[in-house]
């Protein structure tokens, strides 16, 4: 049975606003739900336009081959086919290649060779989707096979076949090299260390696999040049700019509309070839063109995540205080470097790898390699590689504890950054805004009954009775911890940009004469509940009932420019913009109130929704003020109650938490079962506690998925294994553990309402806790590491000292 933490108002104070206004701290039921529960959501595939055509994409069956010829004549003659598009045709429009969000290039349709299985080779546009797929079978492509490179280790070997032979100046398969931290300081600390603990691990390739796949309906009017592009996009404004750059279309003629998005998790951040092909086809044909990828296309060709080969070392002094960390990464980028990393940080934010610990010196080296796999490396429910970073340090800390014979909770507590050290400058340059790591760990230990489980473990693993009192049968208990720190809310414009565009975000707020408002945002919900949460921020700041605040996103003609939603940046950046624009309006409202009340603005007191003249009962409501903004203005004041704010965050926010997993491993067959899973999250002030808990349980399920089953792998020829939901296993309600949640509240000192991001914490923090739990159970059997997913045959192999194939 799932239990949930104590009421949030005991941690962050009772809401300031009434249940009618429903500001911060209220678990308001979601405004967007009425349409979804009645089947009236409108997703990309629900868009139907007059005369709309349907596109299907022919994909490469092989991982690496030269294209000898493409014969489209039979397909072009097939029933219902309007056009067959090839790379050669796109090259005529300079569209055969496109820039990626990481500053690389990517083939839209292959012209010279194919570089991964599933790469786009040709597209058929037809009057019906069934006919388009029929005609794909008639496109004849002759390939001349090339050796496939399926690991980054192979890729960087001298003499390896060059994957990106088309790229000027590219002489090897290295996509990037990068480093962070202070090498000399770190080397010096290692030189004086009493203990060094090391670990090599692979964070495997995974796929965000939102339930709605990616797609577009491109509607280009050949006469006016107006391009209306319906797009499954987490970042519609950035995508519009990219479209303008790729297609050479004037940006004001491009309108991106996102519709409702059926989950994103990073998968809908990149621009995909299908979007560009459909847009080009619509431009040439003069009719709307729809392309919706199948699940297999989604899994084999769009935005995979992770695939980091990591090695790390921690240096400790004689007292088991950690003094330095080293990490090196070899990243499998696939055929194109197409994830969206801030341009300064080639390995994303991996260099936050010192995690929750006070480590004086750290050094990170990173290398990305091109391989014959799909491009990606997207931040899957993750803020730019913080997931991999958190996993490495949390695994290392557990290995260290076991090697030292110290309880992993105690070793963590000993090395945590203390509450009084915030703001804390990390060895790699992050300024952690706030935290109470000991507090979160204490709550987690208490909630899970940590000491009780350790006592049961000592009995059961020594051959005594099992945890439930039944006779011992060889099964072993394991307890795993992860005390993660995240870094979210990119980001201040000094450090953060995507292809040069600074990572601010925006909010535009207009209160209409009747006191009802519309809030327009540059971020983009994919299920996070923005229509509710952001209305609550306005309610908090302006006192308008949240039900009276309509939230609009995802239409680039009608929302202010913003960088979109990923990396848990909506609340830290877009939420801050919302609070700030509401405050801007409140200051104008104060002047209007002074006019209406014939009082000095300085004599007015604000409570949510009302200004009162100090010491009197004379007051005016925000609704009356809004009416006056259009009907009864003081001399010289501009009409309206409206504003826009572009918010450049002064810093990132640093959510954190402590997670505990209790597992029972059966050494006979390598299976393991989660007996309890407790997650204590601290994301600062919780705007809508119900939604926050929902984000956490969702993230926990994906964390469990990665630890337990979810991965995409390849055979030696580069064939993708895991191209359907029958091979790429996603947990159902049956497998998913029954999480229990705890909470602490440590506000962000620089965010206007003290909130931090939360959508990704659980996916970032929890995988290490599962692996730590399984390894904890098996440490006495000589097992010190098992890579994810922790599949039974891997566990069995590790126990028996047998190298098993992945």
């Amino acid at each position: 049975m799932t239990t949930v933490h104590e009421p949030v108002h005991e941690l962050q104070g009772s809401p300031r606003t009434s249940a009618t206004i429903c500001g911060v701290g209220h678990s308001m039921r979601r405004k967007e739900d009425d349409r979804f529960i009645q089947g009236a959501g409108r997703y990309l595939d629900d868009v139907v336009l007059p005369g709309m055509l349907h596109m299907a994409i022919l994909r490469s069956p092989v991982a690496h081959a030269r294209i000898v010829s493409i014969d489209t004549s039979a397909a072009a003659a097939a029933e219902g086919v309007v056009a067959v598009v090839t790379g050669e045709m796109l090259a005529g429009y300079n569209l055969a290649w496109m820039p990626t969000l990481s500053g690389d290039t990517q083939a839209v349709l292959a012209t010279d060779k194919v570089r991964f299985q599933g790469q786009e080779v040709a597209a058929v546009v037809a009057t019906d989707p069934y006919l388009a797929h029929d005609a794909l079978q008639l496109v004849e492509v002759e390939y001349e096979d090339l050796p496939a490179i399926t690991t980054p280790q192979q890729a960087i070997e001298p003499g390896a076949v060059l994957i990106r032979d088309e790229k000027p100046g590219q002489t090897d398969n290295v996509a990037y090299t990068w480093e962070a931290g202070d090498r000399e300081l770190t080397d010096a600390a290692f030189a004086r260390a009493a203990h060094v603990v090391s670990l090599g691990t692979h964070y495997p390739r995974s796929h965000p696999a939102p339930l709605e796949t990616c797609g577009t309906v491109a509607d280009v009017n050949p006469i006016t040049g107006q391009a209306t592009i319906y797009l499954t996009s987490q970042a519609p404004h950035a995508h519009r700019t990219l479209f303008a750059l790729v297609a050479g279309l004037p940006e004001e003629n491009i309108r991106i509309i996102t519709c409702d998005i059926g989950g994103g998790f990073g998968n809908k951040v990149p621009i995909y070839p299908g979007y560009v092909i459909a847009t080009a086809a619509s431009l040439v044909i003069g009719k709307p063109v729809k392309w919706v990828e199948s699940r297999s296309e989604n899994l084999i060709s769009t935005g995979f995540a992770r695939d980091y080969h990591m090695s790390g070392e921690l240096a400790f002094d004689a007292d088991h205080r950690v003094i330095a960390m080293r990490a090196s990464i070899l990243s499998d980028q696939g055929a194109f470097y197409a994830d969206a990393q801030p341009s300064k940080f080639r390995a994303g934010l991996f260099h936050i790898c010192t995690g929750s610990y006070d480590i004086g010196a750290a050094h990170v080296t990173a290398k990305g390699a091109y391989t014959n796999k799909a491009p990606g490396g997207v931040a899957y429910r993750c803020s730019f590689r913080v997931t991999e970073a958190s996993f490495l340090v949390e695994r290392l800390m557990d290995v260290a504890a076991h090697e030292f014979g110290i309880d992993p909770a105690d070793l963590r507590a000993k090395n945590f950054i203390r509450k009084d050290q915030f703001p804390y400058l990390s060895a790699t340059g992050f300024v952690y805004d706030s935290g109470d790591y000991h507090g979160a760990l204490d709550v987690a230990k208490q909630l899970v009954d940590y000491d009780g489980w350790r006592a049961k473990q000592a009995v059961q693993n020594a051959g005594g009775v099992r945890h439930d009192g039944s006779p011992g049968d060889g099964r072993l208990l394991g307890i795993g911890l992860a005390s993660f720190t995240e870094v979210v809310g990119a980001g201040n414009s000094k450090d953060f940009d995507i292809v040069g565009i600074k990572m601010f975000d925006s909010a535009e707020l207009r209160v209409h004469p009747t006191g009802k408002a519309i809030l327009k945002l540059g971020v983009q919900s994919q299920g996070q509940g923005h229509e509710t949460t952001f209305a609550q921020i306005v309610a908090e700041e302006l006192g308008l009932p949240a039900m009276d605040v309509k939230v609009q996103e995802g239409d680039t003609d009608n929302t202010p420019y913003g960088l979109g939603t990923y990396a848990s940046r909506s609340t830290p950046v877009g939420g801050a913009a919302t609070a700030m624009v509401a405050r801007k309006l409140r200051e104008k409202a104060r002047l209007l109130a002074a006019h209406l009340l014939e009082a000095d603005p300085g004599d007015l007191e604000w409570e949510p929704g009302r200004f009162t003249v100090s010491g009197t009962d004379r007051s005016v409501s925000i609704q009356d003020i809004a009416f006056a903004a259009y009907t009864n203005l003081p001399d010289g004041m501009e009409a309206g109650l409206e504003g826009v704010t572009y918010y450049d965050p002064p810093n990132m926010t640093y959510p954190f938490g402590s997670y505990v997993v209790v597992t029972e491993v059966d050494p006979a067959d390598g299976t393991w079962k989660v007996l309890d899973m407790v997650a204590v999250d601290d994301c600062g002030v919780r705007i809508n506690p119900m939604i926050v808990d929902g984000q956490i349980t969702g993230g926990l399920a994906e964390g469990f998925a990665k630890a337990n089953m979810q991965w995409i792998t390849f055979d030696d020829d580069g064939n993708c294994i895991g191209s359907t939901f029958m091979d790429y296993l996603v947990p159902t309600a049956w497998e998913t553990p029954r999480f229990r949640l705890g909470a602490t509240v440590t506000p962000s000192p620089h965010h206007p309402i003290g909130a931090k991001g939360v959508g990704e914490s659980a996916t970032v923090g929890s995988p290490a806790a599962y692996v730590n739990a399984v390894v904890d159970a098996l440490w006495s059997h000589g097992v010190r590491s098992i890579d994810m997913p922790v599949l039974p045959h891997r566990v069995w192999g590790a126990i028996n000292g047998i190298q098993v194939r992945p």
């Binding site: 429903c22 009236a40 997703y43 059926g262």
Partner: protein
């Protein structure tokens, strides 16, 4: 092939290709887009509808197989008295986020409750295990289905674990918009 399918109580006669999937017939032929497509392998359940009261994945049923039969989609869940209890419970208990799996989850939940009015947590999780959700971690979906069962049994929906003692019952916020009209089926 000529088929007649009763969808949400309304009879529809159509000429369809034998290979037309039921999900495509519902979405494209009848304009009922509340049924979603999330995979092509009967794995995800986003396309779940009730065929003669039993949940089926409409991406692996041909439209012709529904000839002469009753189909219920999410658009037909709501009754003359308002939302079906599973719909109300999904909103009340935050059983949805992106909404893409929601139609299928609610229909499976409704079918389960029709058979077993008081399922325990294991029974709910097992019943839902043919449907994938990527957003919620299932916690609140399970909670919503069980709460809907309580409503159907005429019990008060007490939920000690709702976690929102701040303002329990706040879903009835004044000004909740009237329900969106149910799309009228084609022809």
């Amino acid at each position: 092939m000529q088929i007649t399918v009763t969808v949400n109580g309304v009879q529809h006669a159509h000429d369809v290709e034998p290979r037309t999937l039921l999900v495509d017939h519902l979405r494209t032929g009848l304009g009922l887009t509340g049924t979603h497509i999330g995979c092509d392998t009967t794995s995800c359940g986003a396309c779940t509808v009730l065929l003669d009261g039993r949940p089926v994945k409409s991406c692996t049923v041909f439209a012709v197989q529904a000839d002469g039969r009753q189909v219920r989609t999410v658009e037909g869940l709501k009754g003359p008295d308002g939302l079906h209890p599973v719909q109300a419970a999904f909103k009340e208990h935050h059983g949805l986020q992106c909404g893409f799996c929601t139609s299928g989850m609610m229909l499976v939940g409704a079918a389960l409750l029709a058979e077993n009015p008081d399922p325990d947590e294991d029974e709910v999780r097992w019943a839902l295990s043919g449907n994938l959700c990527r957003c919620t971690g299932y916690v609140n979906i399970v909670k919503a289905v069980r709460a809907a069962g309580a409503t159907l049994r005429g019990e008060a929906t007490t939920d000690p674990a709702a976690g929102d003692d701040v303002n329990a019952g706040e879903s009835a916020v004044p000004g909740t918009p009237a329900a969106t009209p149910v799309p009228v089926a084609g022809d």
